[in-house]
Amino acid sequence: MTVPRFWREIPNRYNLVGTKCENCNTYYFPPRTICPPCRRKGLIREYAFEGSGEIVTYTTIYTAPETFTKITPYVLAIVQLDEGPKLTAQIVCDPSEVKIGARVRSVFRKLGEDGPDGVIYYGTKFTLA
């Protein structure tokens, strides 16, 4: 991913900043600027998520693209945040420790890098709570 494309989303990626529709009280992460049920009636505001949630499903990735080959095998999961939305994220744990329903907590971590001279990407991962 190019630098501006990543940089634009730094608050969202580093601090779990998403959005909330004040009209129907639905939370969005990744952020949405249109609330699907309310559409133009929606009232979208920024919202920083608490960072607690639960594992809905998971996998351990053994074959990964170049950015992630250094860290294979790694655990990837869909996490449901306590406010409601679900997101895809890595879980920092041993593959044998992860299970559906486990409570998790967000952490700031390095995601990967664009080769030895490229940009280092940071973002949110989760640890078992």
Partner: protein, 387 residues
């Protein structure tokens, strides 16, 4: 709206076609389809080409014009449109052609699908396929395509008790069917042990749960049903062409164990035909991973939710079973040139309904269904075909 018929089909061999270019592949499939329909190039009024990612695979865009050009159709300035919906590009090219003929806009239309995937290495190919998911919020955090389907498999196993062996049986059956298909990439028969002992790609999915990287092209000739007999004695009628969208990301779906767009597209298709699901004699479904076939046969309504795994083990989806699924070998064994797959599915169903499918023929097949999925379910296209 006019009813539409398929009067000609063509499909290349699927596989790692080192000696064939993108151009060679679509020309081969297109000429086969034209010869089958006894149509000349001068009669073609429009062309729709399904292609997912020529930009990444070949650094070539604008392939609508390229296809028309090298098919010799620029002399007539035939309108040629590239259609893209990731792995459902082919199904969408077919539906686009159907709409063009049904509306009365054109009479003789080619719908084709093509993908040349082996001109890049496996790493680049994996990156191209990841573009079918949400690049910013799935792929960028480490999701891979097998990884996303693995998470569906895990959820399905957790919710319904689907087993490792049931998943494996999908690949075993599809390799068996592929062994009888001269076009198939893999014609070797395998066992459950082959699958469960293959390397892990994204737990619980292993190498033999995954469809391969493939080159290939397929094409069909579409005409109004009222004119079909001018071209062939065995027209196959398109009774429904339905499509549905859903969120691009897996994490935004209502369910992780169903593909809702499949259910909706199937409901729309069956409503158009006024047919019961029990009338379907044979189906080609989108088995990009073994779990995808199990979810497909449930979401299409052939089996209750959770019954797909046990039905597969019981042989109900084998040729000769209750509802034969993927007689071509499916994406798993026939191969998965992503943009071509949706059209290849229609080619296989046409051969089945004509009674031309050789050793893999489903006896007495009169009505067939194709099911083509883009990404993890952001786009689904369902067609129902009948003799």
């Amino acid at each position: 709206m006019r009813e539409v018929a398929i009067v000609g089909i063509g499909c290349t061999k699927f596989g790692e076609m080192w000696d064939k270019s993108f151009r060679d592949l679509f020309i081969e499939a297109g000429l086969m389809a034209l010869a089958d329909a006894r149509v000349s190039g001068a009669q073609i009024e429009a062309l729709y080409g399904g292609n997912m990612s020529s930009g990444i695979f070949l650094e070539q865009e604008h392939v609508g014009a390229l296809i028309a050009d090298y098919s010799g159709l620029t002399a007539n300035n035939v309108p040629s449109t590239r259609v893209e919906a990731a792995c459902a590009s082919g199904g969408l090219a077919l539906r686009s052609g159907v709409i063009a003929v049904a509306s009365g806009y054109h009479d003789v239309v080619i719908s084709a699908g093509i993908e040349k995937m082996t001109d890049v290495g496996a790493e680049k190919a994996m990156d191209a396929l990841a573009a079918a998911a949400d690049r910013e919020w799935e792929a960028a955090v480490g999701a891979t395509f097998p990884g996303l389907y693995a998470m569906m498999a895990r959820a399905h196993m957790h919710e319904f008790g689907t087993t490792r062996e049931q998943l494996a049986q999908v690949a075993v059956k599809n390799h068996y069917n592929g062994s009888m298909n001269p076009r198939a990439q893999f014609r070797n028969r395998i066992t459950i042990e082959t699958v469960v002992n293959s390397p892990l790609v994204a737990d619980p999915l292993r190498l033999f749960d995954c469809s391969p990287i493939t080159d290939g092209a397929a094409a069909v000739v579409l005409v109004p049903a009222a004119r079909a007999k001018e071209f062939t004695d065995t027209p196959i009628y398109i009774k429904a062409a339905a499509q549905a969208s859903d969120s691009i990301s897996l994490h935004d779906r209502r369910s992780l164990t169903s593909i809702d767009a499949t259910t909706v597209a199937a409901d729309r298709a069956f409503k158009m035909t006024k047919l019961q699901r029990s009338k379907i004699d044979v189906a080609e479904v989108h088995d990009c991973f073994t779990i995808a076939e199990i979810m497909a046969i449930e979401d299409l309504g052939f089996f209750e939710k959770g019954a797909g795994g046990p039905a597969t083990i019981a042989g109900e989806t084998a040729i000769g079973g209750k509802i034969p699924i993927n007689p071509s070998g499916g994406l798993k064994a026939c191969g998965h040139p992503v943009g071509a797959t949706g059209v290849k599915q229609a080619v296989e169903i046409v051969e089945q309904l004509r009674g031309d499918a050789g050793k893999r023929q489903v006896d007495g097949a009169e009505v067939g269904l194709t099911h083509n999925v883009g990404g993890t379910g952001g786009t689904v296209v369902v067609h129902i075909l009948a003799r």
